[in-house]
Protein backbone atom coordinates (compact mmCIF):
# COMPACT_ATOMS: atom_id res chain seq x y z
CA UNK A 1 0.00 0.00 0.00
CA UNK A 2 1.29 3.41 -0.94
CA UNK A 3 0.13 6.47 1.03
CA UNK A 4 0.46 9.98 -0.32
CA UNK A 5 -1.16 13.33 0.47
CA UNK A 6 -3.26 15.13 -2.15
CA UNK A 7 -2.62 18.64 -0.87
CA UNK A 8 -3.69 19.46 2.70
CA UNK A 9 -7.18 17.93 2.42
CA UNK A 10 -6.78 14.45 0.87
CA UNK A 11 -4.98 11.20 1.62
CA UNK A 12 -4.60 9.04 -1.49
CA UNK A 13 -3.90 5.33 -1.01
CA UNK A 14 -2.81 3.09 -3.86
CA UNK A 15 -3.58 -0.54 -3.01
CA UNK A 16 -1.94 -1.85 -6.20
CA UNK A 17 -0.54 -0.32 -9.40
CA UNK A 18 -2.35 -2.98 -11.44
CA UNK A 19 -6.08 -3.71 -11.57
CA UNK A 20 -7.35 -6.95 -10.08
CA UNK A 21 -10.43 -8.12 -8.19
CA UNK A 22 -8.20 -8.60 -5.12
CA UNK A 23 -7.02 -4.97 -5.20
CA UNK A 24 -10.59 -3.74 -5.68
CA UNK A 25 -11.84 -5.82 -2.74
CA UNK A 26 -9.08 -4.55 -0.45
CA UNK A 27 -9.95 -0.98 -1.40
CA UNK A 28 -13.66 -1.60 -0.78
CA UNK A 29 -13.05 -3.41 2.55
CA UNK A 30 -10.72 -0.72 3.90
CA UNK A 31 -13.01 2.13 2.88
CA UNK A 32 -15.91 0.32 4.61
CA UNK A 33 -13.74 0.01 7.73
CA UNK A 34 -12.84 3.71 7.53
CA UNK A 35 -16.55 4.57 7.31
CA UNK A 36 -17.37 2.34 10.31
CA UNK A 37 -14.54 3.78 12.42
CA UNK A 38 -15.97 7.32 12.13
CA UNK A 39 -12.57 9.01 12.35
CA UNK A 40 -12.93 12.64 13.40
CA UNK A 41 -12.28 15.08 10.55
CA UNK A 42 -12.92 12.60 7.72
CA UNK A 43 -15.42 14.19 5.32
CA UNK A 44 -15.47 12.01 2.18
CA UNK A 45 -14.55 8.38 1.56
CA UNK A 46 -14.06 7.48 -2.09
CA UNK A 47 -13.23 3.92 -3.14
CA UNK A 48 -11.75 3.48 -6.62
CA UNK A 49 -10.65 0.53 -8.76
CA UNK A 50 -7.36 -0.33 -7.06
CA UNK A 51 -6.97 2.69 -4.78
CA UNK A 52 -9.02 4.98 -2.57
CA UNK A 53 -9.11 8.56 -1.40
CA UNK A 54 -10.04 10.13 1.94
CA UNK A 55 -10.93 13.82 2.14
CA UNK A 56 -10.36 15.35 5.56
CA UNK A 57 -10.36 18.63 7.44
CA UNK A 58 -6.83 19.29 8.75
CA UNK A 59 -8.30 21.78 11.21
CA UNK A 60 -9.93 18.79 12.96
CA UNK A 61 -7.25 16.09 12.60
CA UNK A 62 -3.50 16.46 11.98
CA UNK A 63 -2.57 14.89 8.62
CA UNK A 64 -0.04 12.49 10.19
CA UNK A 65 -2.56 11.40 12.83
CA UNK A 66 -5.03 10.54 10.07
CA UNK A 67 -2.30 8.60 8.27
CA UNK A 68 -1.72 6.58 11.45
CA UNK A 69 -5.44 5.84 11.82
CA UNK A 70 -5.68 4.69 8.20
CA UNK A 71 -2.61 2.45 8.47
CA UNK A 72 -4.16 0.76 11.52
CA UNK A 73 -7.11 -0.23 9.30
CA UNK A 74 -4.96 -1.84 6.59
CA UNK A 75 -5.73 -5.30 7.98
CA UNK A 76 -9.42 -4.84 7.22
CA UNK A 77 -8.67 -5.59 3.61
CA UNK A 78 -6.58 -8.69 4.21
CA UNK A 79 -9.22 -11.15 5.44
CA UNK A 80 -11.57 -13.22 3.32
CA UNK A 81 -13.67 -10.72 1.42
CA UNK A 82 -17.38 -11.34 1.86
CA UNK A 83 -19.85 -8.90 0.46
CA UNK A 84 -23.60 -8.48 0.75
CA UNK A 85 -24.48 -6.74 -2.47
CA UNK A 86 -26.94 -6.51 -5.37
CA UNK A 87 -26.96 -7.99 -8.85
CA UNK A 88 -28.61 -5.75 -11.42
CA UNK A 89 -29.63 -6.83 -14.92
CA UNK A 90 -29.18 -4.25 -17.61
CA UNK A 91 -30.67 -4.61 -21.12
CA UNK A 92 -28.23 -3.52 -23.85
CA UNK A 93 -28.96 -2.83 -27.51
CA UNK A 94 -25.51 -3.65 -28.94
CA UNK A 95 -24.42 -2.07 -32.24
CA UNK A 96 -27.35 0.37 -32.04
CA UNK A 97 -27.91 3.16 -34.60
CA UNK A 98 -27.10 6.04 -32.16
CA UNK A 99 -23.63 4.99 -31.02
CA UNK A 100 -22.95 3.86 -34.60
CA UNK A 101 -23.86 7.31 -35.95
CA UNK A 102 -21.66 8.91 -33.27
CA UNK A 103 -18.66 6.69 -33.93
CA UNK A 104 -18.89 7.40 -37.65
CA UNK A 105 -18.78 11.15 -36.92
CA UNK A 106 -15.53 10.78 -34.97
CA UNK A 107 -13.84 8.14 -37.16
CA UNK A 108 -10.71 10.20 -37.78
CA UNK A 109 -10.01 10.12 -34.02
CA UNK A 110 -10.00 6.30 -33.94
CA UNK A 111 -7.18 3.77 -34.24
CA UNK A 112 -9.01 1.97 -37.06
CA UNK A 113 -11.15 4.36 -39.13
CA UNK A 114 -12.20 1.51 -41.43
CA UNK A 115 -13.95 -0.53 -38.71
CA UNK A 116 -16.61 0.07 -36.05
CA UNK A 117 -15.57 0.12 -32.37
CA UNK A 118 -17.05 -3.38 -31.94
CA UNK A 119 -15.27 -4.75 -35.03
CA UNK A 120 -11.96 -3.24 -33.91
CA UNK A 121 -12.25 -4.52 -30.34
CA UNK A 122 -13.28 -8.01 -31.51
CA UNK A 123 -10.25 -8.19 -33.81
CA UNK A 124 -7.61 -6.99 -31.32
CA UNK A 125 -8.98 -9.38 -28.66
CA UNK A 126 -8.86 -12.40 -30.99
CA UNK A 127 -12.61 -12.87 -31.41
CA UNK A 128 -13.61 -14.19 -34.86
CA UNK A 129 -16.52 -11.75 -35.18
CA UNK A 130 -18.63 -9.14 -33.37
CA UNK A 131 -21.28 -11.60 -32.10
CA UNK A 132 -18.54 -13.57 -30.26
CA UNK A 133 -17.31 -10.38 -28.57
CA UNK A 134 -20.88 -9.49 -27.56
CA UNK A 135 -21.37 -13.02 -26.20
CA UNK A 136 -18.27 -12.59 -24.00
CA UNK A 137 -19.27 -9.06 -22.93
CA UNK A 138 -22.80 -10.12 -21.96
CA UNK A 139 -21.88 -13.64 -20.85
CA UNK A 140 -20.17 -12.96 -17.51
CA UNK A 141 -21.16 -10.41 -14.85
CA UNK A 142 -19.19 -7.27 -13.97
CA UNK A 143 -18.30 -5.54 -10.69
CA UNK A 144 -18.94 -1.83 -10.26
CA UNK A 145 -15.38 -1.05 -9.15
CA UNK A 146 -15.76 2.74 -8.97
CA UNK A 147 -18.49 5.36 -9.44
CA UNK A 148 -17.30 8.69 -10.74
CA UNK A 149 -15.67 10.78 -13.42
CA UNK A 150 -19.08 12.44 -13.76
CA UNK A 151 -22.21 12.00 -11.65
CA UNK A 152 -23.29 8.38 -11.35
CA UNK A 153 -20.99 6.90 -14.01
CA UNK A 154 -19.96 3.33 -13.09
CA UNK A 155 -16.60 1.81 -13.98
CA UNK A 156 -17.07 -1.93 -14.46
CA UNK A 157 -14.57 -4.78 -14.14
CA UNK A 158 -15.58 -8.11 -15.62
CA UNK A 159 -15.60 -11.14 -13.32
CA UNK A 160 -13.39 -13.38 -15.46
CA UNK A 161 -9.76 -14.47 -15.32
CA UNK A 162 -7.20 -11.92 -16.46
CA UNK A 163 -6.51 -13.71 -19.78
CA UNK A 164 -10.23 -13.46 -20.63
CA UNK A 165 -10.51 -9.73 -19.92
CA UNK A 166 -11.56 -7.61 -22.89
CA UNK A 167 -8.98 -4.86 -23.42
CA UNK A 168 -9.10 -1.89 -25.78
CA UNK A 169 -7.31 1.46 -25.97
CA UNK A 170 -9.21 4.72 -25.66
CA UNK A 171 -9.77 6.79 -28.81
CA UNK A 172 -6.58 8.49 -30.07
CA UNK A 173 -8.25 11.84 -29.33
CA UNK A 174 -11.39 11.97 -27.17
CA UNK A 175 -14.78 12.51 -28.86
CA UNK A 176 -16.67 15.68 -28.01
CA UNK A 177 -19.93 13.71 -27.94
CA UNK A 178 -21.18 10.39 -26.57
CA UNK A 179 -24.88 9.48 -26.39
CA UNK A 180 -26.34 9.25 -22.90
CA UNK A 181 -26.43 5.63 -21.62
CA UNK A 182 -23.72 4.41 -24.00
CA UNK A 183 -21.98 1.21 -22.93
CA UNK A 184 -18.29 1.97 -23.37
CA UNK A 185 -15.00 0.16 -22.92
CA UNK A 186 -11.47 1.48 -22.30
CA UNK A 187 -8.41 -0.35 -20.96
CA UNK A 188 -9.90 -3.33 -19.11
CA UNK A 189 -12.86 -1.27 -17.86
CA UNK A 190 -16.44 -1.01 -18.98
CA UNK A 191 -18.36 2.21 -18.35
CA UNK A 192 -21.94 3.41 -18.71
CA UNK A 193 -22.11 7.09 -19.66
CA UNK A 194 -24.62 8.59 -17.22
CA UNK A 195 -24.85 11.89 -19.13
CA UNK A 196 -24.25 12.94 -22.72
CA UNK A 197 -20.81 14.41 -23.26
CA UNK A 198 -17.16 13.98 -24.15
CA UNK A 199 -15.65 10.50 -23.99
CA UNK A 200 -12.75 8.36 -25.13
CA UNK A 201 -14.00 4.80 -24.55
CA UNK A 202 -14.90 2.45 -27.42
CA UNK A 203 -18.70 2.42 -27.87
CA UNK A 204 -20.43 -0.98 -27.90
CA UNK A 205 -24.13 -0.21 -27.48
CA UNK A 206 -26.77 1.61 -25.48
CA UNK A 207 -29.09 0.77 -22.59
CA UNK A 208 -32.68 2.03 -22.25
CA UNK A 209 -32.30 1.99 -18.45
CA UNK A 210 -31.45 5.40 -16.90
CA UNK A 211 -28.82 5.28 -14.13
CA UNK A 212 -28.74 8.98 -13.11
CA UNK A 213 -31.73 11.28 -12.77
CA UNK A 214 -31.13 14.66 -11.10
CA UNK A 215 -34.86 15.45 -11.47
CA UNK A 216 -35.64 12.22 -9.56
CA UNK A 217 -38.67 11.44 -11.73
CA UNK A 218 -37.66 7.90 -12.78
CA UNK A 219 -39.52 5.53 -10.44
CA UNK A 220 -36.48 3.60 -9.15
CA UNK A 221 -34.33 6.79 -8.80
CA UNK A 222 -36.83 8.73 -6.67
CA UNK A 223 -35.13 7.79 -3.39
CA UNK A 224 -31.69 8.66 -4.71
CA UNK A 225 -30.64 10.06 -8.08
CA UNK A 226 -27.66 7.71 -8.61
CA UNK A 227 -28.34 3.99 -9.18
CA UNK A 228 -24.92 2.40 -8.72
CA UNK A 229 -22.66 1.89 -5.68
CA UNK A 230 -19.16 0.39 -5.71
CA UNK A 231 -19.58 -3.36 -5.14
CA UNK A 232 -22.79 -3.73 -7.17
CA UNK A 233 -22.75 -6.55 -9.72
CA UNK A 234 -24.08 -5.93 -13.24
CA UNK A 235 -25.20 -8.47 -15.84
CA UNK A 236 -25.80 -7.23 -19.38
CA UNK A 237 -28.63 -8.79 -21.41
CA UNK A 238 -28.55 -8.24 -25.20
CA UNK A 239 -31.83 -6.94 -26.62
CA UNK A 240 -32.92 -5.95 -30.14
CA UNK A 241 -34.57 -2.80 -31.43
CA UNK A 242 -38.13 -3.80 -30.49
CA UNK A 243 -37.28 -4.69 -26.89
CA UNK A 244 -35.16 -1.52 -26.63
CA UNK A 245 -38.03 0.69 -27.86
CA UNK A 246 -40.49 -1.07 -25.55
CA UNK A 247 -38.20 -0.52 -22.55
CA UNK A 248 -37.78 3.19 -23.42
CA UNK A 249 -41.57 3.52 -23.48
CA UNK A 250 -41.85 1.72 -20.14
CA UNK A 251 -39.30 4.12 -18.63
CA UNK A 252 -41.18 7.14 -19.97
CA UNK A 253 -44.49 5.80 -18.64
CA UNK A 254 -42.91 5.26 -15.20
CA UNK A 255 -43.51 1.50 -15.40
CA UNK A 256 -39.95 0.26 -15.94
CA UNK A 257 -38.67 -1.75 -13.04
CA UNK A 258 -35.10 -3.04 -13.25
CA UNK A 259 -34.37 -6.62 -12.24
CA UNK A 260 -32.38 -6.31 -8.99
CA UNK A 261 -31.66 -9.12 -6.49
CA UNK A 262 -29.74 -9.24 -3.21
CA UNK A 263 -26.73 -11.59 -3.31
CA UNK A 264 -23.83 -12.69 -1.11
CA UNK A 265 -20.45 -12.72 -2.78
CA UNK A 266 -17.30 -14.41 -1.53
CA UNK A 267 -14.00 -13.55 -3.18
CA UNK A 268 -12.45 -16.86 -2.07
CA UNK A 269 -15.31 -18.87 -3.58
CA UNK A 270 -15.03 -16.89 -6.80
CA UNK A 271 -11.27 -17.42 -7.00
CA UNK A 272 -11.72 -21.18 -6.48
CA UNK A 273 -14.44 -21.48 -9.13
CA UNK A 274 -15.20 -18.38 -11.22
CA UNK A 275 -17.52 -20.14 -13.67
CA UNK A 276 -19.53 -21.86 -10.94
CA UNK A 277 -19.78 -18.68 -8.85
CA UNK A 278 -21.00 -16.66 -11.83
CA UNK A 279 -23.54 -19.36 -12.69
CA UNK A 280 -24.84 -19.25 -9.12
CA UNK A 281 -25.14 -15.44 -9.30
CA UNK A 282 -27.17 -15.69 -12.50
CA UNK A 283 -29.31 -18.32 -10.80
CA UNK A 284 -30.20 -15.77 -8.10
CA UNK A 285 -31.00 -13.19 -10.78
CA UNK A 286 -33.38 -15.42 -12.69
CA UNK A 287 -34.50 -17.74 -9.90
Amino acid sequence: MRYTFGGDEHVFVEVDEAMSLEAFFRSLSITNAVRDSRIRGVTEICPANASFQIKFDPDLIAPDDLLGELKSLEGAGAGGAELKTRIIEMPVFYDDPWTRETLMRFRERHQDPGATDLEYTARINGYPDVPSLIAAHAGSPWFVSMVGFVAGLPFLYQMVERDKQIQAPKYLRPRTDTPKLTIGHGGCFGAIYSVRGAGGYQMFGITPMPIYDPAQEISYLRDFMVLFRPGDIVKFRPVGRDAYDAAVQEVEAGRFSPLIREVDFSLAAFQADPTGTNAALLGVLHG
Binding site: T4, E44, A50, G187, V226
Partner: protein, 326 residues
Protein backbone atom coordinates in the same frame (compact mmCIF):
# COMPACT_ATOMS: atom_id res chain seq x y z
CA UNK B 1 -49.72 30.18 -9.41
CA UNK B 2 -49.15 33.55 -7.73
CA UNK B 3 -46.05 35.51 -8.73
CA UNK B 4 -43.52 35.30 -5.87
CA UNK B 5 -42.93 38.66 -4.17
CA UNK B 6 -39.21 39.15 -4.52
CA UNK B 7 -37.58 38.19 -7.79
CA UNK B 8 -34.83 39.22 -10.13
CA UNK B 9 -35.01 38.77 -13.88
CA UNK B 10 -32.02 37.93 -16.05
CA UNK B 11 -32.12 40.39 -18.97
CA UNK B 12 -28.74 39.27 -20.39
CA UNK B 13 -26.99 36.24 -18.97
CA UNK B 14 -23.35 37.27 -19.49
CA UNK B 15 -20.90 34.62 -20.66
CA UNK B 16 -21.71 31.98 -18.05
CA UNK B 17 -23.49 33.06 -14.89
CA UNK B 18 -24.45 30.39 -12.38
CA UNK B 19 -26.08 30.21 -8.97
CA UNK B 20 -23.40 29.17 -6.45
CA UNK B 21 -23.09 28.79 -2.69
CA UNK B 22 -20.29 27.12 -0.71
CA UNK B 23 -20.97 23.75 -2.29
CA UNK B 24 -22.32 20.25 -1.88
CA UNK B 25 -19.91 18.04 0.10
CA UNK B 26 -20.56 14.34 0.65
CA UNK B 27 -21.23 12.88 -2.80
CA UNK B 28 -17.80 12.86 -4.45
CA UNK B 29 -17.72 9.04 -4.15
CA UNK B 30 -20.64 8.97 -6.61
CA UNK B 31 -19.02 11.42 -9.01
CA UNK B 32 -20.95 14.47 -7.77
CA UNK B 33 -18.37 17.16 -7.00
CA UNK B 34 -18.43 19.93 -4.41
CA UNK B 35 -19.31 22.73 -6.88
CA UNK B 36 -19.95 26.14 -5.27
CA UNK B 37 -18.08 29.41 -5.75
CA UNK B 38 -14.67 29.11 -7.42
CA UNK B 39 -13.54 32.03 -5.22
CA UNK B 40 -15.18 31.17 -1.91
CA UNK B 41 -13.69 34.07 0.02
CA UNK B 42 -15.21 36.66 -2.33
CA UNK B 43 -18.67 35.04 -2.07
CA UNK B 44 -18.41 35.03 1.72
CA UNK B 45 -17.44 38.72 1.71
CA UNK B 46 -20.30 39.61 -0.68
CA UNK B 47 -22.82 37.75 1.46
CA UNK B 48 -21.63 39.42 4.68
CA UNK B 49 -21.79 42.85 2.99
CA UNK B 50 -25.51 42.42 2.23
CA UNK B 51 -26.34 40.89 5.61
CA UNK B 52 -26.66 37.27 4.44
CA UNK B 53 -25.30 34.12 6.01
CA UNK B 54 -21.86 33.33 4.59
CA UNK B 55 -23.14 30.33 2.68
CA UNK B 56 -26.17 31.96 1.03
CA UNK B 57 -26.49 31.39 -2.70
CA UNK B 58 -25.30 34.20 -4.97
CA UNK B 59 -24.39 34.50 -8.62
CA UNK B 60 -20.97 33.79 -10.09
CA UNK B 61 -20.28 35.68 -13.33
CA UNK B 62 -17.20 34.86 -15.39
CA UNK B 63 -15.38 37.35 -17.68
CA UNK B 64 -18.58 39.17 -18.77
CA UNK B 65 -21.25 40.27 -16.31
CA UNK B 66 -25.01 39.72 -16.65
CA UNK B 67 -27.77 42.32 -16.79
CA UNK B 68 -30.34 41.87 -14.05
CA UNK B 69 -33.66 43.68 -13.47
CA UNK B 70 -34.87 43.80 -9.87
CA UNK B 71 -38.59 43.28 -9.17
CA UNK B 72 -38.10 44.21 -5.51
CA UNK B 73 -35.97 46.50 -3.36
CA UNK B 74 -32.78 44.75 -2.28
CA UNK B 75 -29.18 45.22 -1.21
CA UNK B 76 -26.48 43.98 -3.60
CA UNK B 77 -22.71 43.59 -3.35
CA UNK B 78 -20.23 42.65 -6.08
CA UNK B 79 -16.84 41.25 -5.06
CA UNK B 80 -14.06 39.18 -6.59
CA UNK B 81 -13.04 40.24 -10.09
CA UNK B 82 -12.70 43.94 -10.86
CA UNK B 83 -15.78 44.19 -13.08
CA UNK B 84 -17.47 47.47 -12.12
CA UNK B 85 -21.17 47.17 -11.25
CA UNK B 86 -23.62 49.74 -12.66
CA UNK B 87 -27.12 50.65 -11.53
CA UNK B 88 -29.25 51.99 -14.39
CA UNK B 89 -25.99 52.60 -16.22
CA UNK B 90 -24.26 54.53 -13.42
CA UNK B 91 -21.02 52.98 -12.21
CA UNK B 92 -20.93 51.89 -8.55
CA UNK B 93 -18.10 50.75 -6.28
CA UNK B 94 -17.29 47.07 -5.87
CA UNK B 95 -16.95 45.40 -2.43
CA UNK B 96 -19.73 47.73 -1.22
CA UNK B 97 -23.36 47.30 -0.10
CA UNK B 98 -25.53 48.94 -2.78
CA UNK B 99 -29.23 49.72 -2.37
CA UNK B 100 -31.28 48.73 -5.39
CA UNK B 101 -34.87 49.89 -5.95
CA UNK B 102 -37.50 47.74 -7.57
CA UNK B 103 -37.31 48.24 -11.35
CA UNK B 104 -33.61 49.15 -11.41
CA UNK B 105 -31.18 47.26 -13.64
CA UNK B 106 -27.79 45.97 -12.45
CA UNK B 107 -25.21 45.64 -15.23
CA UNK B 108 -21.44 45.51 -15.46
CA UNK B 109 -18.56 47.33 -17.12
CA UNK B 110 -15.67 45.50 -18.76
CA UNK B 111 -13.47 43.19 -16.75
CA UNK B 112 -10.31 44.98 -15.57
CA UNK B 113 -8.71 42.31 -13.36
CA UNK B 114 -9.51 38.82 -12.09
CA UNK B 115 -12.00 36.50 -13.78
CA UNK B 116 -15.09 35.92 -11.63
CA UNK B 117 -17.41 38.36 -9.88
CA UNK B 118 -19.45 37.18 -6.90
CA UNK B 119 -22.85 38.88 -6.80
CA UNK B 120 -24.73 38.63 -3.51
CA UNK B 121 -28.31 39.82 -3.12
CA UNK B 122 -29.94 40.33 0.29
CA UNK B 123 -31.93 37.23 1.17
CA UNK B 124 -29.89 35.06 -1.19
CA UNK B 125 -31.00 33.36 -4.40
CA UNK B 126 -33.77 30.99 -3.38
CA UNK B 127 -33.45 28.11 -5.84
CA UNK B 128 -34.32 24.62 -4.51
CA UNK B 129 -31.80 22.94 -2.22
CA UNK B 130 -30.56 19.74 -3.88
CA UNK B 131 -28.47 17.31 -1.81
CA UNK B 132 -27.91 20.05 0.75
CA UNK B 133 -26.86 22.87 -1.57
CA UNK B 134 -28.11 25.40 -4.11
CA UNK B 135 -24.86 25.28 -6.13
CA UNK B 136 -25.05 24.63 -9.88
CA UNK B 137 -23.29 21.52 -11.23
CA UNK B 138 -23.95 22.01 -14.94
CA UNK B 139 -22.19 18.83 -16.15
CA UNK B 140 -24.66 16.78 -14.10
CA UNK B 141 -27.64 19.13 -14.75
CA UNK B 142 -27.93 19.40 -10.97
CA UNK B 143 -28.77 22.22 -8.54
CA UNK B 144 -28.85 25.95 -9.23
CA UNK B 145 -31.56 27.17 -11.61
CA UNK B 146 -32.68 24.11 -13.61
CA UNK B 147 -29.17 22.66 -13.33
CA UNK B 148 -27.67 25.09 -15.85
CA UNK B 149 -26.11 28.49 -16.46
CA UNK B 150 -28.64 31.31 -16.53
CA UNK B 151 -30.42 32.41 -19.72
CA UNK B 152 -32.18 35.63 -20.68
CA UNK B 153 -35.70 35.61 -19.27
CA UNK B 154 -34.92 33.46 -16.22
CA UNK B 155 -36.61 34.67 -13.05
CA UNK B 156 -34.98 33.89 -9.71
CA UNK B 157 -36.71 34.13 -6.37
CA UNK B 158 -35.01 35.88 -3.46
CA UNK B 159 -35.07 34.81 0.17
CA UNK B 160 -36.03 37.17 2.96
CA UNK B 161 -33.25 39.71 3.53
CA UNK B 162 -32.08 41.50 6.66
CA UNK B 163 -31.61 45.28 6.74
CA UNK B 164 -27.99 46.46 6.46
CA UNK B 165 -26.25 49.83 6.28
CA UNK B 166 -26.01 51.10 2.74
CA UNK B 167 -22.56 52.01 1.48
CA UNK B 168 -20.53 49.93 3.92
CA UNK B 169 -17.57 48.27 2.27
CA UNK B 170 -14.73 45.88 2.85
CA UNK B 171 -11.40 47.69 3.39
CA UNK B 172 -9.05 47.28 0.42
CA UNK B 173 -6.43 45.59 2.62
CA UNK B 174 -8.85 42.67 3.15
CA UNK B 175 -9.53 42.12 -0.57
CA UNK B 176 -7.28 39.32 -1.68
CA UNK B 177 -5.33 39.96 -4.88
CA UNK B 178 -4.67 37.17 -7.38
CA UNK B 179 -1.00 36.23 -7.06
CA UNK B 180 0.56 34.59 -10.12
CA UNK B 181 2.03 31.80 -7.95
CA UNK B 182 0.20 28.56 -7.11
CA UNK B 183 1.68 26.65 -4.19
CA UNK B 184 1.49 22.89 -4.57
CA UNK B 185 2.32 19.82 -2.55
CA UNK B 186 4.19 17.26 -4.70
CA UNK B 187 2.99 13.67 -4.39
CA UNK B 188 0.30 11.32 -5.76
CA UNK B 189 2.03 9.88 -8.87
CA UNK B 190 5.00 12.27 -9.13
CA UNK B 191 7.31 9.23 -9.15
CA UNK B 192 6.15 8.64 -12.74
CA UNK B 193 8.28 11.58 -13.99
CA UNK B 194 12.01 12.15 -13.63
CA UNK B 195 13.43 14.41 -10.91
CA UNK B 196 14.72 16.74 -13.62
CA UNK B 197 11.25 16.99 -15.16
CA UNK B 198 9.80 17.90 -11.75
CA UNK B 199 12.42 20.61 -11.21
CA UNK B 200 11.68 22.07 -14.65
CA UNK B 201 7.94 21.98 -13.91
CA UNK B 202 8.56 24.40 -11.03
CA UNK B 203 11.08 26.53 -12.93
CA UNK B 204 9.03 26.91 -16.13
CA UNK B 205 6.68 29.82 -16.73
CA UNK B 206 3.16 28.55 -17.53
CA UNK B 207 0.19 30.36 -19.02
CA UNK B 208 -3.52 29.78 -18.44
CA UNK B 209 -4.93 28.08 -21.56
CA UNK B 210 -8.30 29.08 -23.07
CA UNK B 211 -9.69 25.75 -21.81
CA UNK B 212 -10.21 26.95 -18.25
CA UNK B 213 -13.56 26.44 -16.57
CA UNK B 214 -15.22 25.30 -13.37
CA UNK B 215 -14.14 21.70 -13.95
CA UNK B 216 -10.48 22.51 -14.35
CA UNK B 217 -7.85 25.00 -15.44
CA UNK B 218 -5.42 23.96 -18.19
CA UNK B 219 -1.94 25.49 -18.46
CA UNK B 220 0.55 25.52 -21.31
CA UNK B 221 3.95 26.91 -22.20
CA UNK B 222 6.25 24.75 -20.06
CA UNK B 223 8.44 21.84 -21.17
CA UNK B 224 6.86 18.40 -21.71
CA UNK B 225 7.57 16.09 -18.77
CA UNK B 226 9.92 13.11 -19.16
CA UNK B 227 8.56 9.87 -17.74
CA UNK B 228 10.36 7.12 -15.88
CA UNK B 229 10.23 4.03 -18.14
CA UNK B 230 7.97 1.18 -16.96
CA UNK B 231 6.05 -1.91 -17.99
CA UNK B 232 2.40 -0.69 -18.01
CA UNK B 233 0.48 -2.21 -15.04
CA UNK B 234 -2.55 -4.30 -16.07
CA UNK B 235 -5.54 -2.03 -16.70
CA UNK B 236 -3.56 1.22 -16.80
CA UNK B 237 -3.24 1.72 -20.55
CA UNK B 238 -0.13 2.00 -22.67
CA UNK B 239 0.55 5.76 -22.51
CA UNK B 240 3.25 6.58 -19.93
CA UNK B 241 0.91 9.15 -18.35
CA UNK B 242 -1.84 6.53 -17.76
CA UNK B 243 -2.67 4.95 -14.40
CA UNK B 244 -5.40 2.50 -13.39
CA UNK B 245 -8.33 4.93 -13.10
CA UNK B 246 -8.28 6.43 -9.60
CA UNK B 247 -9.87 9.26 -7.64
CA UNK B 248 -8.75 12.80 -8.39
CA UNK B 249 -8.27 15.16 -5.41
CA UNK B 250 -9.62 18.72 -5.74
CA UNK B 251 -6.66 20.82 -6.85
CA UNK B 252 -4.79 17.79 -8.21
CA UNK B 253 -2.56 18.52 -11.20
CA UNK B 254 -2.83 15.89 -13.95
CA UNK B 255 -0.62 16.09 -17.00
CA UNK B 256 -2.13 13.98 -19.83
CA UNK B 257 0.63 12.87 -22.19
CA UNK B 258 3.08 14.89 -20.06
CA UNK B 259 2.32 18.12 -21.93
CA UNK B 260 -0.38 20.40 -20.46
CA UNK B 261 -1.11 20.41 -16.71
CA UNK B 262 -4.78 20.58 -15.68
CA UNK B 263 -5.72 21.64 -12.15
CA UNK B 264 -9.14 20.27 -11.17
CA UNK B 265 -11.45 22.77 -9.49
CA UNK B 266 -14.89 22.89 -7.83
CA UNK B 267 -16.78 20.95 -10.57
CA UNK B 268 -13.94 18.40 -10.80
CA UNK B 269 -14.31 15.12 -12.61
CA UNK B 270 -13.96 12.82 -9.60
CA UNK B 271 -11.61 10.31 -11.15
CA UNK B 272 -9.88 9.06 -14.24
CA UNK B 273 -6.78 7.49 -15.72
CA UNK B 274 -4.12 10.21 -15.83
CA UNK B 275 -1.18 10.50 -13.43
CA UNK B 276 -1.00 13.54 -11.16
CA UNK B 277 2.20 15.33 -10.18
CA UNK B 278 0.82 16.92 -7.02
CA UNK B 279 -1.98 19.06 -5.63
CA UNK B 280 -2.52 22.82 -5.34
CA UNK B 281 -3.00 23.61 -1.64
CA UNK B 282 -6.52 24.51 -0.46
CA UNK B 283 -5.47 28.08 0.41
CA UNK B 284 -4.64 28.84 -3.23
CA UNK B 285 -7.73 27.34 -4.88
CA UNK B 286 -9.65 30.64 -4.71
CA UNK B 287 -6.82 32.34 -6.63
CA UNK B 288 -7.22 29.97 -9.58
CA UNK B 289 -10.82 31.07 -9.96
CA UNK B 290 -9.57 34.60 -10.61
CA UNK B 291 -7.01 33.70 -13.30
CA UNK B 292 -7.65 34.84 -16.88
CA UNK B 293 -6.61 32.96 -20.02
CA UNK B 294 -3.03 33.78 -21.13
CA UNK B 295 -2.10 34.97 -17.63
CA UNK B 296 1.44 33.85 -16.66
CA UNK B 297 1.65 31.55 -13.63
CA UNK B 298 4.33 29.68 -11.69
CA UNK B 299 3.86 26.56 -9.61
CA UNK B 300 5.78 26.72 -6.32
CA UNK B 301 6.72 23.69 -4.24
CA UNK B 302 5.58 23.63 -0.63
CA UNK B 303 5.32 20.97 2.07
CA UNK B 304 2.53 20.04 4.50
CA UNK B 305 3.79 22.55 7.10
CA UNK B 306 3.70 25.27 4.43
CA UNK B 307 0.20 24.23 3.33
CA UNK B 308 -1.10 24.32 6.91
CA UNK B 309 0.54 27.71 7.55
CA UNK B 310 -1.18 29.08 4.42
CA UNK B 311 -4.41 27.60 5.68
CA UNK B 312 -4.05 29.47 8.98
CA UNK B 313 -3.41 32.72 7.09
CA UNK B 314 -6.64 32.19 5.14
CA UNK B 315 -8.57 31.52 8.35
CA UNK B 316 -7.11 34.66 9.97
CA UNK B 317 -7.96 36.82 6.93
CA UNK B 318 -11.53 35.45 6.97
CA UNK B 319 -11.78 36.26 10.68
CA UNK B 320 -10.74 39.86 9.93
CA UNK B 321 -13.34 40.04 7.12
CA UNK B 322 -16.03 38.83 9.53
CA UNK B 323 -14.93 41.38 12.14
CA UNK B 324 -14.95 44.18 9.58
CA UNK B 325 -18.49 43.33 8.45
CA UNK B 326 -19.99 42.26 11.78
Amino acid sequence: MAEPESTIEIVKPGLSTTVQDLGRPGYYHLGIPLSGAMDRESLIAANLLVGNDEGAAGLEAVFLGPEIRFAADATVAVTGADMPPKLDGVEQPGWTALSVRSGQVLSFGFLKAGARASIAVSGGIDVPVVLGSRATYALGALGGHEGRALKAGDRLRLGRGRPVGEGRNLPAALRRKAEPVLRMLPGLYDHRVTGEATERFFADPWKVAPEADRIGYRFRGGHPLDFVPREPPFGAGSDPSNIVDSCYPYGSIQVPGGTEPIVLHRDAVSGGGYFMIGTVIAADMDLIGQLQPHQPVHFARTDMAGALAARRETAERLARIRDALA
